[in-house]
Symmetry: C2
Subunit: 190 residues, 2 copies
């Protein structure tokens, strides 16, 4: 367990490489954000970090709204491509054959092909250096009905979510347990 000592770097992993939709109408755009995280449970809140040089940055500042579309392995190509191309030059929805759908609570479209869409409204922006941090309320969620069981519960394990770690995209693999499993009493054998 010998350790090498490095200076600081952005090395948290795995992180979610989400497709963020923003803007509206003909100005709607997509960008990929891996610097994203949950920040609060009640009320539900998350953050995304965006470089001010990005085409999407003023779109998010102006409307104060965006949608976090959870990435799947099937969307890996679009996730990567939308992370390196600019909406200044191309319509990313059209180029990636993604379908914009109206959201419930915000003006920007959600990505139909993403199984879970988190509609967000910004309540604070904090410049941090290379990126600005947008803190946002998750005001509504759209979920693929195909992922709901008979009781209406979300079976997210069927969504084949995509993760990002140190420059690489990964599928989620085997399930190891659910929260609290180490302290739950086992059911008695019959």
């Amino acid at each position: 367990m010998s350790k090498a000592s490095w200076k600081g770097g952005a090395l948290l992993a795995p992180v979610p490489p989400v497709l963020v939709s923003c803007g509206s109408g003909e100005k709607a755009n997509l960008l990929t954000v891996a610097w994203a995280g949950l920040i609060n449970t009640r009320p539900p809140r998350l953050s995304i970090s965006v470089r001010p040089s990005r085409h999407s940055y003023p779109l998010i500042c102006e409307s104060g709204e965006f949608v976090v579309n959870l990435p799947t392995c099937r969307l890996a190509r679009a996730v990567d491509w939308c992370g390196v191309k600019s909406g200044r030059d191309v319509d990313k929805f059209a180029a990636m054959h993604l379908t914009p759908l109206p959201a419930q609570q915000v003006s920007c479209p959600l990505v139909a092909e993403s199984p879970v869409n988190l509609e967000c409204r910004v309540f604070q922006r904090i410049p941090l250096g290379s990126h600005d941090l947008f803190l946002a309320d998750i005001v509504a969620i759209d979920v693929d009905e195909e992922l709901l069981d008979a009781a209406g519960r979300l079976q997210l394990e069927k969504a084949d979510l995509l993760a990002y770690a140190h420059g690489d995209y990964y599928a989620l693999g085997r399930r190891l347990g659910s929260f609290g499993w180490t302290v739950r009493k086992k059911k008695p054998r019959r």
Copy 2:
């Protein structure tokens, strides 16, 4: 692609269920935080969210320091257990047979069994409701030398990292590509 409409909820996934170490000496403690994310590249910065009721909360507030220890599948049991037990009642390092090691830049110990340790210093705390958001600089990194190749490059894909999604722990699965793969020119065939 029919969508069910839900109210907002904390449903970003996958997220990193990191082991956070804090405090020092006999007061050193561990807590599990899945509400964690990268927030800035230059300078490298991340955030964690902690409930004020947690035993670790005043420890982080007092010292302004913590270490984010990346979780592996081998640590899944400790990650889950440290997320439901309190350091008020038990020494989590001892109970989980984890080894505290001195950090380079901060006073709290790092977890030797974690392959990558991010030493962090808080620069802002923002109360958000159920949780407080700690924004922190990543001031140093400790990396298992076993994960470095001959050129000293980190092979994080060998670390068997753990992810968390909607209440379940997952291993990372197959690698699908590296950042920018969709626009890279293929090497010419010989």
